[in-house]
Structures are given as C-alpha cells and as structure tokens.
Symmetry: C2
Subunit: 360 residues, 2 copies
DNA sequence: CTCTGTTAGTGCATCGATTTACTATCGCCA
DNA sequence: TGGCGATAGTAAATCGATGCACTAACAGAG
C-alpha cells in the first residue's frame, strides 16, 4: 500500500521508531540480535518501504543525478545515456534525463528543475563555449560535470569536463584522407559556435597544414551558410538532413571536394545520402569520414569510416567524476579529461578517382 | 543557496507562512493586493524556491512520471522517449527514464524504485505477454500505461495499452511484397515471445493466406533458432546484429527468400548489411521491409521500405492516457488503443529477379 | 557501596510546506 | 446598536524519517 510508516513497523516490533531507523541506517549493531530479528520480521511482514520524500526532507540527500543531453533521439546520445544510466545504477543512483535540444534556455530551465528536486549532481552535455547560464548553480554548490566539451577560459574553477580529444580525432580523420591522396577536402558541420566543433575544425586544418595545404584548398560548409539566418536550426534534431543538404551543395560547386569530413556520424550518413542523390558513389567517387562510431556506422552501405568515441568508458568516467564531487572526496580542481580517439577505417573512404587527383 | 524557506519569505513580507503558501498555491485572491505585492517582492528578492521534498511529503503529490523503455540506445526508443518527454513537459511533468533491456526483473526493480520515489504514473514499454510481475503495484494504485503491446487476457482491468496495429502493419508489409510478385518470403525476428512480434507474425501469415500461400512457402528466422538456448540474447541490444546473421543464414539456404520482412528497422538495416555480405544487392536481388520508420530508414542505401509508426502522436497519446488516470478523470477501463500504421515505400523493395519468380 | 563506563534503546525536535480550523476586522442593514 | 456575513490573515497540527541527547540497566573497578 505504501501507507506503512516507520511507526507502524516500530509498534509491530515492539520497539521505538528510532530503533527501526537505526536498523535501516546501517546501525544494526546497536541492538540485541533478538530485537533486530523482530524489526526485520516486522518490516518484511508489513512490506514496509521508507518514504523517500520524508527521508530526503530530513537528510537533504537524494540518490538521483541529472543528465542533460541534446536529444536522446540521436543514437549517440541515446547510447551515452544508456551507458551512463548503467554506471549510475551500479552505484545506487538513478538518473533523471533531460533533452535540451541544445537550447541554453532549456538547459538552464532543466537545471533549475533538477535543483528544485534536490538533485545536486548533474552531467551536462553541452558544447556551448560558455556555461555562464548555469554558473549560479555551481556557485550554490551544484556538482557539475561537462561532457562533450573541454575547459574554457571563464569556466568555474571546479568544473571538470569529459571529452574525446577532438583535435586529435579530426586530425586522424583528415590525415587519413590526405594519405589516401585527397587534396580537395570539405568539412561539414552545423554552426561552429560550439566547443567540439571548433576543436574538430582546428584538428582538420592542422592536418591540412602538415600537408602544406591552405584554407584555399578546403571547403567548409556549416549551417550558417544556408543563409536562413537561423544557424542553430541545424542541431542534433536533423544532423542527417544537414549533411544531406551540405553534400548536395558541395558537389554542385565548380571544384567539388573528393573527401568530406562530417561533424558526426548522423551528419555523415546524411552526407552519404546526399552523395547518392548527386548520382555519385560513396567511397569510389567521394570519400566520407564521420565522427562517433555509432552502431549504424558499421551497418551503412558502405560501412562508414569514422572516429570512434568509447562511449561506455566515457560514461563511466563522467559518473565517477560526478560522484567524486558529490561525495566531496578526491581533488575537485577543474580540468578537461581527454579520451583518446581511434580511427576506424571502413569502406566509405578510398583513394580519390584519378581525374580529380591531379586536378589540384 | 536553496536554503531559503517559506518562513524567511513570510518574515520578509511581514506575513505568515500560510499566506505565502496561499499565494503559491493559486489562492492569491485571498489577500489584499498590497499584501500580495509584498509576498511577490519577498519571493523575488530572496530567490525563494519551494522545497519539493517537503511539498511532496505533505501533499503526496509529485509531478514526475516514469518511463520504462527497453533501451534508449535504440533510436526508436530514443525518439519515443524524447517525444514523450516533450508531451510531459508541456503539462508540467518531468520524466524519470529507465532502460529495462527487456528484462522482466529490471522492469520490476525499476518500478519498485519509481514507486518508492512516490511516482504513481508509469508508461511501461514492454512487449511481454504478461505484466504479472508488475501487477501488485497496479493493485496498490499505480497508474500504468502499456506501450508497444496490446491488451492480453489476464491483464489488470484498468490497464490501457497504446500500440500500432501490428497485424495490419505486417499485413501491409507482406502484401506489398506479394503484390510485387514475391513468393518466397522470410520473417526475421528475435524471440517470438512478445506481444508485438506474435501479432506481426500473424499479420504476415494472414497476408500469405490471402494469396493462397502456406507456411511451406515461408521461412521464419527468430533468435531462438540460433540454438544458443538463450533466445532473449537477441533483444534491442543488437537487433541489427540479429538481422545481419539472419540474412546470411537465410540466403545460404537451398531456396533463399526473395523478400524479407524484419521485425523492426534496426533489424532490417542489419538484414540489408547481411544481404550485401552475401554479395547480393538490396532491392534488386532481395527486397527488405522494416518496421518503425526511424530517421535512418530514409538515409540508408537504398532507403528502406518500412511500416511507419507515428511516434510523436503515440507519445502524446501515452502521456494523455497516463495523465487521465493520474487525475482520476475520464474512463479508466482497460483497453488497447491501436494506431493505424502506414506503409512507406522506398527503394529496398522491388519485383523479384525473374529467375526466382517462376521457381516457385 | 559508590563511581565510571558501556550497552541498548528511547523521546522529541526537526526538516519545509500545506491546510484546516480559527480569529479579527470591517461593512452594512435592521 | 447589535448582529450577520464577508474578507484577510494566522496558529498549529501534520506528512514520515532521522539522529542528537538522553536514560535505564548492569558490569567491573576501587
């Protein structure tokens, strides 16, 4: 019924509520074995379950953490959320999940809600350069872990971030294409106003420079170009649509790229679709590299070459960091924990077709 | 801060806590405009936020509902979860999300946790034939809405279920292949021990019968066949892997199918990969139909013919039903609400190659 | 026999908001 | 002037669990 209280248990066991409470809170040694047995029996017989609201009110503690992701409809975030939940559950925590759609206002609103719920630990998957909109909560004692972003100037001193090494990852991707012989490369992304996108772009250009190429040899397609005036429209909601549009437009240009690096796998799959729309073949005619290595990357036709993020491991790291801060043990200085990316080569990349190679 | 209580607000405004509470709970008419203003100012100035644990303890109410899905790593469930969250949020509710991995024990454990949290409304996405493992909570007053299943004999009288019409959906899929001229069809699924899978299989066979075909003309591949003894191993975790294996095995048989119906899109994408593994072309050599119409269906190469589930609408229905039961208004008789499926024809289906058509 | 220390267990204030039952004040009419 | 009925606002009990401060009982030391 849920109507069973600690008082009824106490009466049934012939002890005081304090004793039942002692039993429940890891102090069973404070009573004689006989007493303990009576308490146990009473609890079992009445089907007693402590009221969490009352407990939380009294102790201020709650074993729930918050997870704010852009959108769980995106398989990348869905997979991350599931792994994160697994990690939390293994430590007795539950997870309250929120989809922000990458909207800073929603991020803040959600964090307000979580705060009001008494939740004091949150993993925020936001690649916004500034977390200023959330700063006040951190000042008030919120344990915050950033995910999919790296430390930025102006961040709270205590903020940790977990992220793949975007620069290296994008570098791996670009080098791979360059080593295959590609010289006209494109970088496809939504708005660049996010930490990981800028970093990936930096890795991309770094690799180009290694090969003596300049920005003149590259094309960049970001949502902003579409001229819609609302670059943020291209978010996780429709990364694939973005990629598809981008590919069509890029391939229609005078000197189309032979290799395309997409900001993530969903976008890359869209790019692949766009390439086919243009009557070209992925791999043979145009190479595509994605980012993330979601399950679908391996299922696509052709299977997608991509930069892998070890999500399960990263989810465990995020939870561990969060917990450390919640428990107040261990160092809590702010930093970025960068995970090493790995290039997974599949069939969406190949040497460029001969006639385009020497065109440069 | 969070340390601001209703007492401090009351003191700052020069009123009693009761008055502040009246103001907060939609009874601002119970005070003079001047008083109300002072209360408002005090709240704003102190940054007061009501303590939800205290409120919940007192009222027994909590604006959180539970959502138990197999795995949010699966884009279908991720998409559903996001839409459901949107619907809940629009009505002032938040969502506690749980991944059951289709494990009845985890389903029950999660529901216990949610119950202990004071949550009294849950949408359970379980296609288990029996919800007996959860019955006791319903008896105690839990508002439960089943999703992705239909009413079964033995269900609690008050249980509503929201589901696509699986029989009709599978029928649409099978008819489509039959009308294209296919005569050797296969049905690929994990364990058949779930409501929607049996229903889809029923629709499949019904369509075959319409065309005068018997079960001899069909192949069924379900996880159980693999002989691992653990059919449940094939769940949402690896629907695509399942499909891939299935396709390979089916195509290696003496009389391979020319058309394959997969239990869902992830599985279908796996089937497509398996077809390519076998050196055949999807569409031209072997037709494939999926189920769900996830975003990726349209991005695949070739784009996947599939039976669409209008997830946003279904999520809204699920929340509406849940709320109706929570608020205790409206009829609460148990039933199944079936949503009409729609066949989306794309390029993964085509007439069978000539040499196989007449083989039958 | 008293004093100290230990064990076993209890009483009660407390967390913060809600809500019922109540009081005080005022207007108005007979 | 007395009394009725609103209106404005308050006092205090309450939700259920916790944990500090306390007591009772008893063993052992001096």
């Amino acid at each position: 019924m849920s109507g069973v209280t600690i008082y009824e248990v106490a009466r049934a066991a012939g002890v005081s509520p304090s004793t039942v409470s002692n039993y429940l809170n890891g102090r069973p040694g404070r009573m004689l074995p006989g007493t303990r047995k009576r308490v146990e029996d009473a609890i079992a017989q009445l089907g007693y379950r402590p009221n969490r609201a009352a407990r939380q009110l009294r102790t201020g503690r709650i074993l729930v953490v918050g997870l704010v992701v852009p959108s769980v409809a995106n398989p990348f975030w869905g997979t991350f959320a599931r792994h994160f939940e697994g990690a939390a559950l293994a430590h007795g925590y539950r997870v309250l999940l929120c989809n922000s759609e990458r909207d800073p206002d929603r991020e803040r609103e959600y964090i307000e809600e979580l705060w009001d719920d008494g939740i004091r630990g949150i993993v925020l998957c936001s690649s916004l350069p500034s977390l200023g909109h959330v700063q006040s909560f951190v000042d008030d004692g919120l344990a915050l872990v950033g995910f999919d972003r790296t430390a930025q100037a102006g961040d709270a001193a205590s903020l940790v971030n977990i992220s793949i090494d975007n620069v290296v990852g994008a570098q791996l991707a670009a080098r791979h294409l360059l080593e295959l012989g590609h010289r006209r490369l494109a970088f496809v992304s939504g708005s660049l106003a996010s930490v990981n996108r800028t970093e990936r772009f930096r890795g991309f250009t770094a690799a180009l420079e290694e090969h003596g190429l300049t920005s003149q040899d590259t094309l960049v397609w970001s949502g902003a170009r579409s001229g819609s005036g609302a670059p943020e429209d291209y978010g996780d909601l429709d990364a694939s649509g973005l990629g598809r549009t981008a590919a069509r437009e890029l391939l229609a240009s005078d000197v189309p790229p032979t290799g395309i690096i997409a900001i993530n796998d969903m976008c890359a799959l869209g790019v692949c679709a766009g390439i086919r729309d243009a009557g070209l073949r992925v791999g043979q005619d145009v190479s595509v590299v994605g980012f993330d290595d979601i399950v679908l990357a391996d299922l696509a036709a052709p299977p997608l070459t991509t930069v892998r993020q070890p999500l399960e491991e990263m989810a465990a790291m995020a939870f561990a960091q969060l917990r450390q801060r919640l428990d107040g043990d261990g160092p809590t200085a702010g930093q970025s924990l960068l995970v090493r990316p790995e290039l997974v080569v599949r069939d969406s990349t190949a040497p460029p077709p001969p006639n385009t190679t020497d065109r440069h």
